[in-house]
Symmetry: D2
Subunit: 343 residues, 4 copies
């Protein structure tokens, strides 16, 4: 049975986020995957790269060719490393392909901040100007007309969703926010390196990139934008850690309330803030990553401890933190229900 629907391409199909994306899109009634690419020269079958996809999709991974993609697809998901995305986006856009970029290349609106944190100049100023930050819960109205979506980072989505209500309502000190974040190992990608070699990271817990993680400026930028005008920049302390598990992000966030904070009121504020957002579950219990694993949900709760606000949030880094959010964006761009293929 030949499936019909809008043609989409997956550029950079060999990694984990791409595999999740394919897995989700195969169940999307209005979409058809028409091209997958990878840097491998030999055009391997997709299910040779991802044996879990056998019997579900019958495509080869071709070398990237913008024109060929434009012939077959209206949308391209880029699951590429940073710098690789901005090298192909201008061509794709010129050929009329709408792009959902899962890399970091279009997330920071200031090219100088990009250069400072990523160590490369940004080469696509035009793209940067027109890119829309693809966090539907905050920017739902900007996404439908966009032709270039910067899909948020995994730590970023967790942190921003957890803090947005407090910042939007100006309830906390913006310079006194601590995000202690923990990630499963798939967040580090699929390239074998010593820190992710099983006998190194299994049965171990550690911090990494302390004070230097590139999701920091992204969190600062988006939360600053969420705040009321004139209330000044948000500047967070962000500490990532590596957890010996496959998937999941957990953020424990400490914020100093401006006035007296009441737990129950905050929970209600969060529920009201996210009332239109089907994928944010404001829960009463303490969430665990396992409950949102393999789903597009972000689970959030709030506690007061000795006068400090604690927000605890988690999601699946490969789904709500990457591929699922990308499909949420696609749904909005296509005019489909936001939940399609995701619930």
């Amino acid at each position: 049975m030949m499936k019909t629907g809008t043609g989409v391409a997956i550029v950079g199909a060999s990694g984990y986020a791409a595999r999740e994306l394919i897995d989700i899109l195969l169940n999307h009634p209005d979409v058809r995957i028409t091209a997958t690419t990878s840097r491998q020269d030999d055009a391997p079958r997709l299910d040779a790269l991802h044996p879990s996809l056998a019997r579900r999709i019958d495509l080869n991974c071709e070398p990237f060719d913008a024109a060929r993609i434009a012939e077959r697809a209206s949308f391209a998901f880029l699951a590429l490393p940073h710098t690789a995305s901005m090298a192909v986006v201008p061509d794709l856009r010129r050929l009329g392909v709408r792009v959902i970029d899962l890399s970091a290349d279009y997330r920071l609106s200031d090219a100088q901040v990009y250069a400072d944190w990523y160590g490369h100049d940004h080469t696509d100023a035009d793209g940067l100007r027109s890119a829309v930050y693809g966090l539907p819960e905050l920017f739902r109205d900007r996404i439908p007309p966009a032709n270039l979506i910067a899909n948020p980072g995994c730590y970023t989505s967790t942190s921003i969703l957890a803090l947005a209500p407090l910042i939007a309502e100006d309830l906390v000190d913006r310079r006194n926010i601590i995000i202690d974040a923990k990630s499963g190992v798939s967040g580090a990608g699929r390239s074998p390196k010593l820190p992710y070699h099983f006998p190194e990271c299994n049965e171990s817990f550690s911090a990494y990139g302390v004070g230097r993680h590139r999701h920091t400026p992204e969190i600062d930028q988006v939360l600053t934008e969420v705040g009321r005008e004139g209330s000044g920049p948000v500047e967070v302390i962000f500490t990532p850690h590596l957890v010996p598990m496959d998937r999941g992000i957990f953020a424990t966030i400490y914020a100093m309330p401006k006035g007296t904070a009441v737990e129950h009121d905050l929970i209600e504020l969060y529920r009201s803030f996210y009332v239109r957002s089907p994928f944010v579950r404001v829960v009463g219990h303490l969430p665990a990553t396992k409950d949102s694993a393999h789903t597009n949900f972000c689970d959030i709760t709030v506690r007061i401890v000795r006068g400090r606000i604690l927000v605890l949030a988690c999601l699946d880094n490969l789904i709500k933190g990457a591929a699922g959010a990308a499909v949420q964006n696609l749904n909005l761009m296509l005019g489909c229900p936001e939940e399609m293929a995701l619930m």
Copy 2:
């Protein structure tokens, strides 16, 4: 070959800390395990409870009897739940047995604080008065003459060792300290319960006991004591999390410096503070729990991030956080080198 040496008893031998204790003591040249007890009625062989000890020790677990212990042992390690320890300590002490208690019963010097956090009245005021808090790195001089040692909790040891230099030197705001702590599952003990059932906690990361964990007042009390007189109480925000691994505690600690903090100077301060402490390793790299697993070391480093001091510390909850520290205390009480059987 009959080993000689001071006789010691392990009261409550069926759990994980007891097993580690036995494992360590079997390699202690000056000590001999002469009795082990458990609540089981049938006096099982110790290696039926702990198959890993087969061929290494040939003892049965008898029901507890203070007099029989006093006949055979000069020291008793209590690896009991709280309230069970204070039920047996008075008898043991009356019979001249020196006690190293791994439970929480004698850690809080104020019986009211104990009652508030543990939900039981304290029944041994006399013991409470004479108990010495057994953290050798801070109280090395009090331990040798003690006859009742309150062995510190695992989160507590990590947190106190990580913060003591900052508090002793009065470098940080005592009311603005956040301890985001993570523990392997053995910290929850050996009784099967749903949260520790493998398919529940494996591949999951979660917080628990937020704002209510009983190690909080212990950290507050000891750090307050470490501070200079008149500098006021330490009051920490302590958040424990469960990591899908067997053993290890990791603490990420955020403290607000009173003046300007310089990373290199702090590292030097820590090195100097712990120069006599063989089991504290002040390291330059970011530590990982795996490097201190199965050892009695506590690894610590310091970073400055956006003006905030971060202390990152880890240790093995069953060893430096329990059994190893207990043997360190025993060594001091016996006049042995502190490292004996532990390095």
Copy 3:
């Protein structure tokens, strides 16, 4: 939006297989979950038992009541322990509810064999006579008209699918088959017990129930039935092991060929045998449980080593080994495509 479709009930909704079943059925276009039951007295919300289901289903777990189920559901899935199923099946059937039983109660056609291996008499001889063994790959034609399906065990499905082509073609010695099987811990259910306590089974590999596992007679019975008449009973040596992972069954099977076996020919035989079975993937590479995890696929390959046939097969014990197979059966009973909600 009120979903329509055939009403189904989940009896015994608190375990892992039930949760997977609900997860699958929520995406089934022709089915609606109308009742869930559990033994808890307080009728908890389903998402209190399974927080992962929050926002996806809004039902309480009621105490079991056959009449109430019959009012609301045409089908009942029983996710109960053995003996509990046969206590409720007669009532449900009398009331016209078609039953898919995930317990072991109706799998063994001989009540005496049941009594021998399960230690209880069978109390529903009538049910036993009319039950159909619900392995669609072998008994696809018997399932549509059935009103009582014995859903196969997880080890059993793996072993039978891996061996059926060899037995059907009479290619191997039926008394010289060794099944060395390995299971993730969710196979042991959701009740906390010491062997499944995280610090016991994590970082450990062990065998259990050697020579006594209850899936043995089930494998023997079904494979004997698969064999050509007169070729005698199959009698396997079956050894289960526990793997420190959540889900997945892997079987390494050793069979002695009657003649000379050729690897390539066997692979072709398997492909041909399963050509109508969308969920059996006969692969060339060595399969890994992770590739079939969270899917309804069973992956199989064949090797010849020193003249012996090795069959390597794996599947997800909670899906193809339980809930997914149950939905496959439901699809056949409803006349839906076998893959519905499962691919």
Copy 4:
């Protein structure tokens, strides 16, 4: 305090077996580590390669130089990949250094078999002739005078110890032995490769190298030697699997008895066979890898299932399967008690 004792060198100190070796030797009263080498050019500190060793040893990893080693050490442990060992052994031996080689280079006595399985010619025929296979439980008398020890492989030790009593007593069919073996991931070494990348092998179980694993001829050779003369070659079917855990080997072995086998008698046979071997624990219960992890024990039990003999055995691949066995050999060569530093 300067430790005294026989000087030993660790050649190839960057891997897991080397780290375990250093850990053990640091507690050996009669031995002193005087040199460590690695291929890194920059002579890194040993504790930069292995942070767990900080504060325990203060040495740099120098490039290999046979003469410098000979000046400082009487013994050299080689923890090198195969082919690298035979490139340095002749020089070390010529300079009078006794060698314990943890690689596979001297395990197979027939150079042609080596070439067939390892794909390289053997370049040290002289070494091959004088090498002693270092499994103390079987060849305890040959080891003391040896100057070149081929330390057994991890799968090999497990398999041979599990089968030796049956072969020595000629109780089973030598051509009908199946070894279904499972290993933790540290067995694959410390070089990052995709199959050992955490998100690939975590939560997965798979077979590898089916019919082609290089420990096969080693098992065949040693067991053939163990058998009574004239009873013909042992030829096993050996299947290795990868378990998502750090360490541990488990072997489930199926052997066909020549006569009628009685479980109790076999257990007694094993106990008697290993009565002089302190590190073989013949147990009544089903062993688990965790009970021998971090020890030099090999745990074995025997069962009869439907007339077949099952032997279940496990050990720690890095200790009894590598470093611990190497120290056992050293102890015998030094005339120390076999258990020294190992119990």
